[in-house]
Symmetry: C2
Subunit: 481 residues, 2 copies
Amino acid sequence: MVQMGKNKDFSEWYSWILKEAELVDIRYNVKGFAVIRPWAMSVMKRMYSVYEAELDAKGHSPMHFPAVIPESNLTKEEEHIKGFGGDVFWVEKAGENRLEERLALRPTSETAMYPMYALWINGRKDLPMKYYQSGTVWRYETKATRPLIRGREFLWIEAHCAFPTKEDAEAQLAEDKGIAETVIGDVFGIPFLVFQRPQWDKFAGAEDTYAFDTLMPDGKVLQIATTHMLGQNFSKPFGVKFSDTDGQEKHVWQTCYGPGMARIYAALISHYGDDKGLIYHYDLSPIQAVIVPIYKGENKARLDNYAEGIMRMLKEKGIRTHYDSTDNTPGFKYNQWELKGVPIRLEIGEREVDANTVVLVYRDNRDKRTISSESAATEVEEAGKAMFERMKAAAFDRMRNAIDQAETKDELRIKIDEGRIVRVPFCSIGPEGKPCYDILKSELVAEVRGSLFGSRDRPNGGKCVICGNEANEYAYVARQY
Amino acid sequence: MVQMGKNKDFSEWYSWILKEAELVDIRYNVKGFAVIRPWAMSVMKRMYSVYEAELDAKGHSPMHFPAVIPESNLTKEEEHIKGFGGDVFWVEKAGENRLEERLALRPTSETAMYPMYALWINGRKDLPMKYYQSGTVWRYETKATRPLIRGREFLWIEAHCAFPTKEDAEAQLAEDKGIAETVIGDVFGIPFLVFQRPQWDKFAGAEDTYAFDTLMPDGKVLQIATTHMLGQNFSKPFGVKFSDTDGQEKHVWQTCYGPGMARIYAALISHYGDDKGLIYHYDLSPIQAVIVPIYKGENKARLDNYAEGIMRMLKEKGIRTHYDSTDNTPGFKYNQWELKGVPIRLEIGEREVDANTVVLVYRDNRDKRTISSESAATEVEEAGKAMFERMKAAAFDRMRNAIDQAETKDELRIKIDEGRIVRVPFCSIGPEGKPCYDILKSELVAEVRGSLFGSRDRPNGGKCVICGNEANEYAYVARQY
């Protein structure tokens, strides 16, 4: 059994797990595009369902927009096209015909959707409009790509909301944060911080960008979702207006929210895997329990018969169960299913059949205990859920412990090199802080992730770690993906 | 309330329902591309879930493939590129760079997937491989487009299977038929026939094509799914091989299966709608029951309070319920929710509050009955399910009754003009039948849909309705979309 040191060389571990656990295949013959294989996709589909259900519960509705956007739409908001223009794949021909207007493969859907919002929104009764789309977008990334994390095609959800007032739009940003806390935090067990990004690092066309960062095992942060206050920056060029109750015609206030489903999945396997392979969440795993028989001599029929009875009981309780009755050795099977991250293993040998028991093994710490066959379904469920809860608590602890602070550039440098997220007094995340950011970036090879969303966390007389002038806020600094 | 004669002018009704029930918006500014709005998309998402669950239950697994296919892949199988070459949208540029090799937006994914299947399949243990992808494909349709039915972007599932033997592949075709019978037939309530398509009408690159046709209200058939026997036509050029247990290296046998989810949805609303609007299936509808209060004088608070109690009971049972407490008149609300197809309406007035009852109204026949509030949840569920079952039985009856037969061209012409599917003795659906088909097509403006899949339905001494020579089989003829 090959093992891979996750904390020794995370990058190598990540490539290893994608390949060996059959998650992603990078051999597709278009650079930057990868194939997501069933063992990953079946989990991502469950993750999509959970996210969509929570959006639905919060009053969003699903829709479908075309994948292509006419160039004239895309160029309508000035900052937006400046930001995305260089990243666009262009469709220029159809069959043998050159298109009159070329079409962008959507890099994001604001400019596809908002002309329709302008048609759909008339009065205050049409607001709020809270719609989302689950799907794929395409960006011609020129940085080094990494499967699921940075590619030219990525899977996400994009929710686009319109409101009558700025306050309503601001409340949506808070709701988006709450949805992420429920879904990404509680259900997927991924810890994150939410930052207001510096002005020099916001979404092209937004007034403000709020981003959700998790800390990966190698001490670099990964942005897994964003939500943007668009203000009226798009509603004005696209004419998204409504007659307000005061009789006046007004432009709507907009937000858009983008959980990056492939990145969230990448964070999930990275937080939860170990040197032996994946550890899948009990609720998300394609197989929740695998039964492995310990064949000896001529007991195959007896074991198979017993195992099938157990399997039936588990399946009746809705537990996704697999019985591995192949010819491979038990040791081979253990390694294989540990690599694949199946949370609970049930071992069955002569002794267990005699005693009407099974041996339950946890994937995370490989603790074993013998349980009665009658209670197997209940025990598997409890064990699976308990295992997830203790791993989640550990993941949250690790991230919490990695957050630190520094008062000087030297102190900051040491802590950044240790792979921490460091809170420092900083002159400003507004445009006036950009020169300090440029120095920080070039000297420390680190990023200013912003200030904590929703906090009024301001230094009292502190000095900016870079320029030494008065610090207006605390900023968080980290290396990034 | 505007009504529209569904059976008088189906085409007009179809455009009307898409617009008025807010299902599809055709004003998106790229020809042939439409926006699917929430009232349609939320149902289509449920339909996707049902289909995917059935595929999963039959041993398929989900995956994700890129939307772009290099030209060199697409041209590898000769018949395939002949069939699809003219239909392809080409990506030729990314940012400011012209691509070295242009990329097709996938018109279907065989040529994206099978090079990877060649990498994944080595031994007999890797077979069968049964994978599917849910998503969108793009074809530059030059025929007149019609939303959800024929467009340049369409939503489907494509399942691609590989097997060691031809018999295994044939068994898959039968399984695909069974899956459609369960999902499209039983759950979605859409009647269809499965035909082996004539050789001149098969999928580009397939050995044989089997297609699922439903009869729309205007007497034209709509193909809602297909499954293809690819034989070894793709495995040879793409090198998809395995070492068999006899030590020999062999090419796999392949099938691919494509339920057209947007078309299935189009068939669903067409079979089930009426002159007042949609009639949604109880299990699929975004709102299963709508509660309408009959406000009179100052009883609003009393009715609202009572209605909220009912709503709570329904929601506890998992029934998707909406309470329409807007200022509109009850009559306006009835029309609105009937247009939207909500299956069950509950009316509440003074009398109902006094008697602790509600009035339950069926969407289909608008029958009313008074039920006790305590049993409302159970009654709504039973009524919703019973309504669907009786409508499904009627839909199946209508299609069954529309199937007819003819022995001569004149008889065939009359029945085709009546909007029937007509079984006729025909010389052959093999290549040798093509001249007769050409005559039939030009004289009757009708299509040969093929012979029934799985039947040994051969005429005994019958004569082909076109050429008068010996008929080798019964073919089904109809007008088509």
